[in-house]
Amino acid sequence: MPGIFVRIFFTWLLLFMIIQPLLGHIDYVLQVVVKSNAEYAAQKTAPAGMLTQDVRTAVLDNLEAAGFNRNSIQLTSNTSSPLSRGEEITIEIRSPRLPMFAYKFTNDNIPTSYLGKAYTTSEYIP
């Protein structure tokens, strides 16, 4: 009789313990992709002083290649016109997050989006 209990509970425990790190790792890798793309966009943005269409397209292409839906990505910047040299440019990327847990044991709210935020200083000289 105890053998049945062990088998029922242990199998489930084992399944969770194998699935959870895998989910965690996928979640982590996607977060890294979002963050590094925000940094990439910030570095590319500095010479022009603003987020240009070329950089925007390149970032969306990168994220789409990593499996994100292009239309669900929010790519924003603090400016729509070139900032002059020495001013700060902010780039922010938000995209929907995968479910992080195979089973939710608590009622805590889980973050629903990945956030990548990067700063750079404008190099633009009009």
Partner: protein
């Protein structure tokens, strides 16, 4: 009894694997955070160059370092001792272990800059700022602490030809 040992050892191995995975991920995350922050700070420090006297780009070492530290502190949410404030993504205190301004007074450009200690090489076409920061390895389990995370960054002021 064998069954109990089997269950305990399986759970133990899986938990250890999971914890190590989390630890390596957080190492990687912290390293990327430091690298990006250092890149951003050396870039900002170089924008300090605004004296184009006699066609030379003049970088004052003290003013450049002050701008560098200000940018680093703002980006990572650090206090004056470079210790993370609450809410900062950095795990522990950051140490600035090397800061160097390479300008037109001491060097003739272009040349190949190489630092054997911090393993960085770059072909420099103009004045540059070079900084190295360090942070303790972020441990999750109690074990001997591996080598600290150390990131060098360099940024040059080159005029496109």
């Amino acid at each position: 009894m064998d069954k109990v040992f089997y269950i305990i050892s399986t759970v133990f191995i899986l938990v250890m694997g999971w914890l190590l995975q989390e630890e390596f991920q957080s190492w990687d995350q912290q390293r990327q955070l430091l690298k990006n922050a250092n890149n951003q700070a050396v870039h900002t420090a170089l924008q300090n160059a605004d004296d184009f006297n006699e066609g030379l780009i003049d970088l004052s070492p003290t003013a450049t370092q002050a701008t560098y530290l200000k940018a680093l502190k703002k980006n990572l949410g650090l206090d004056d001792q470079l210790t993370p404030k609450s809410g900062s993504p950095a795990r522990s205190t950051i140490r600035l272990i090397h800061f160097e301004v390479i300008d037109s007074y001491d060097h003739t450009f272009p040349f190949v800059f190489e630092d054997q200690n911090y393993h960085i090489t770059k072909y420099l076409r103009g004045p540059a700022v070079f900084a190295v920061i360090e942070m303790d390895y972020p441990l999750l389990m109690n074990r001997p602490r591996p080598a600290p995370i150390r990131v060098p960054s360099i940024f040059e002021y080159a005029i496109a030809s």
